[in-house]
C-alpha cells in the first residue's frame, strides 16, 4: 500500500493502484486518475462508464465485470475497450476509486 497525492489530496492506493478506502475518492479526482492510466481526453462516454461503476459499487459492494458492464451499462464491450484499452473493468474501477472487481475467483 502507498500514500499518493491526487489533485492535491492524499489517498491510499494498493500495489496495483486501486483505492484501499473508496471513501477517499472525489469525482474531481477523475481527470487526474484517468491521466495516470494514459487517458487524456475524457468523453461523456468515459464519464458514463465511470459513474455507472461507482453507482454499482455503492449499491452492491463490488464493481461489475467487463461482460456485465457490456450487458448493463449501455456501452457495448467493443466500445468499452476503445474507451479503456487493455482492461475496461480494471481501468474504470481504478478511475472510479473502487476496489478491483472481484467475482473472478
Amino acid at each position: 500500500m502507498s500514500v499518493d497525492t491526487i489533485d492535491g489530496v492524499q489517498v491510499h492506493l494498493n500495489d496495483e493502484g486501486f483505492f484501499t478506502d473508496p471513501t477517499e475518492w472525489r469525482e474531481e479526482m477523475v481527470p487526474a486518475l484517468a491521466r495516470r492510466e494514459g487517458i487524456e481526453d475524457l468523453t461523456d462516454r468515459h464519464w458514463m462508464v465511470i459513474r455507472f461503476m461507482r453507482a454499482q459499487y455503492e449499491a452492491k459492494g463490488t464493481g461489475p465485470s467487463v461482460r456485465e458492464l457490456g450487458k448493463t451499462s449501455g456501452v457495448a464491450i467493443k466500445e468499452l475497450y476503445q474507451l479503456f484499452p487493455k482492461g475496461p473493468a480494471k481501468l474504470a474501477a481504478k478511475i472510479a476509486g473502487i476496489p478491483k472487481p472481484r467475482g473472478c475467483i
Binding site: K60, G61, T62, P64, S65, V66, R67, E68, L69, K71, T72, I77, K78, L80, Y81, P85, K86, G87, R102, G103, C104, I105
Partner: protein
C-alpha cells in the same frame, strides 16, 4: 404445512432436498424439486472424457433417483419467479407457490456471448469439455491430432471449477507424452486473468507447473471472437492467437429465468445472496447456493456442499422464526489433477487463500503439492459424491467450516470480504 420449492436437481438442489427431507416430517413440509431434464452429470468427470479416462455413460445418472422418497421431482422449464407473491411460474403455465424457495439452478454456458464460437469450425477445430457432447467429440479429435498449435482458452471469469482448464492443460501434456507426440505439440493456456490463477500463492505454484511442462501462458487476453475456420482467437483489443485445435471454456451466466425475475439476480443472472447466511437479497423467503449464487468464491461442488449445510439450517431457522446462522465462511476445496497419476489439493475460504500444509489437519492430504495420494483422493471422490454427498450424509472429518490446523497460515492473508 409449509411448501418448499427447489429449483434445480444438480449437486446443490439434490443435497439440500435430501437434507431438508430429514429435517422436516412430511406433515410439516412438502418438498418439490424442479429441473429441466432428468440427467444428473457428475461434472468433475467431464475433464476426463476427452482423454478416454471416463466414458459419458459412467458419469450420468437419473436426477430423480438421487432424491429421497418424499421429495417430489417435477420436469419443467422455469419461466420466472414472482418474488413479491412467492410463486414460481413454469413455462407450461403451472404455478408453484412457496414458503421457502431454494435457487440451485447452477450456471449456463453463454456460447452466444462470444462471436463465432459455435459457428463454422465448431466440433471440427473448436471444442469445449464443459458439455458432455463436446467433451466426447473432443476425445475423438485428440486421439487423431497429429501435432501443431493446441490452445486452451478461458473466455471470462467466473467459470465452474476455475482450476479445470489448468487440469486440462496438465492432462493434455501427459496425453501427448503417452501418444509420443508431445514434441510436436505447441501447448498454450490463454486466460483473461493476470496470472495462471486468481490467488497469488496458488498462481505462483500453478504458473511454475505450466513452465516445468513447457506450456506457454498468455495472460490478460479477453476473447471477443473465435474464428474456427482460420483457427484464431481474437481479443477485444484486437490481439490474435492462432491454433490448429482449440479448446474454449465459454463465459458463464446464471439460469435464464433469474434474468426474467426482477430483483433476483445481477447483470449476468446470478442470484444476489448474503455470503454468510445464503439468504437472497431479494426476499427473506428465498435462498440460493452453488453456481447459481453471486458470491465471491469458486463455483465448485465442494462450495455447494459446504453451503448446503448452512442453508438447510437457515431454512429451518427461518421457518421457526429464529435468527439466521451467518456461519458460511466461503470454504472451498478442489483436487487438481496434474497428469501422470498425480494430483494436488487446495483448500481456502473468503479470507484465507489456498496455502501449503495439510488437510483437514496436520496429518492429512498434502496441500498445494503433487502426490499420488491426492490422485487417489480425486478418484475416490466420485464414489463419495453419489453415496454420501448427494444423499446429504456427513463425511467424517470434512466440515463446512474451513480448518486452519495443518496450514501454513503465515504465507499471505487474503483481503477481508466485506458484506
Amino acid at each position: 404445512m409449509r411448501r418448499i420449492v427447489i429449483l434445480g436437481a444438480g449437486t446443490g438442489g439434490t443435497l439440500v432436498a435430501n437434507r431438508l427431507r430429514r429435517a422436516f416430517s412430511r406433515r410439516e413440509a412438502s418438498i418439490i424439486c424442479v429441473d429441466q431434464d432428468d440427467w444428473h452429470v457428475y461434472q468433475p468427470g467431464l475433464l476426463f472424457v476427452p482423454f478416454g479416462l471416463a466414458v459419458p455413460g459412467e458419469i450420468v445418472r437419473p436426477r430423480a433417483r438421487q432424491l429421497a422418497s418424499g421429495v417430489e421431482f417435477r420436469l419443467g422449464d422455469v419461466d420466472r419467479v414472482d418474488v413479491a407473491n412467492r410463486v414460481v411460474h413454469l413455462a407450461d403455465g403451472y404455478e408453484l407457490p412457496y414458503d421457502v424457495l431454494v435457487v440451485a439452478s447452477g450456471s449456463r454456458l453463454a456460447f452466444e456471448d462470444t462471436e463465432g464460437l459455435t459457428g463454422p469450425g465448431w466440433g471440427e477445430r473448436v471444442f469445449t469439455f464443459y458439455t458432455l457432447d463436446s467433451a466426447a467429440e473432443l476425445g475423438a479429435a485428440l486421439a487423431t491430432f497429429a501435432g501443431g498449435r493446441f490452445v486452451v482458452n478461458v473466455v471470462e471469469m467466473p467459470i465452474k471449477c476455475p482450476v479445470a482448464p489448468l487440469e486440462f492443460c496438465f492432462l493434455a501434456d501427459w496425453f501427448f507424452h503417452e501418444r509420443g507426440i508431445r514434441d510436436e505439440v505447441d501447448l498454450t493456456f490463454v486466460t483473461p486473468l493476470d496470472a495462471a490463477f486468481t490467488t497469488p500463492v496458488a498462481a505462483h505454484h500453478l504458473g511454475g507447473m505450466l513452465e516445468e511442462r513447457g506450456i506457454h501462458l498468455v495472460t490478460e487476453f479477453n476473447t471477443g471472437e473465435v474464428d474456427g475456420v482460420g483457427g484464431r482467437l481474437i481479443s477485444y483489443d484486437e490481439r490474435e492467437i492462432g491454433f490448429d485445435l482449440g479448446v474454449v471454456v465459454p463465459a458463464h451466466s446464471g439460469a435464464s429465468f433469474v434474468t426474467r425475475s426482477p430483483g433476483l439476480g445481477d447483470g449476468l443472472g446470478f442470484v444476489l445472496t448474503d455470503p454468510h447466511t445464503l439468504q437472497s437479497q431479494a426476499s427473506p423467503h428465498v435462498f440460493a447456493l452453488g453456481d447459481a449464487a453471486a458470491l465471491p468464491i469458486s463455483k465448485a461442488g465442494s462450495v455447494t456442499h459446504f453451503e448446503g449445510e448452512v442453508l438447510v439450517e437457515n431454512v429451518r431457522r427461518f421457518l421457526a422464526g429464529e435468527a439466521l446462522d451467518a456461519s458460511y465462511d466461503g470454504h472451498a476445496n478442489c483436487f487438481i489433477e496434474t497428469g501422470f497419476s498425480k494430483a494436488m489439493l487446495i483448500d481456502f475460504n473468503y479470507d484465507v487463500e489456498p496455502l501449503t500444509g495439510h488437510y483437514p489437519g496436520p496429518v492429512g492430504l498434502p496441500l498445494l503439492k503433487e502426490t499420488h495420494l491426492n490422485h487417489l483422493g480425486k478418484l475416490m471422490f466420485q464414489w463419495l459424491y453419489w453415496h454420501s454427498l448427494l444423499p446429504g450424509r456427513d463425511i467424517p472429518g470434512i466440515r463446512s467450516e474451513m480448518p486452519r490446523a495443518g496450514k501454513h497460515l503465515a504465507e499471505r492473508p487474503k483481503e477481508e470480504v466485506t458484506r
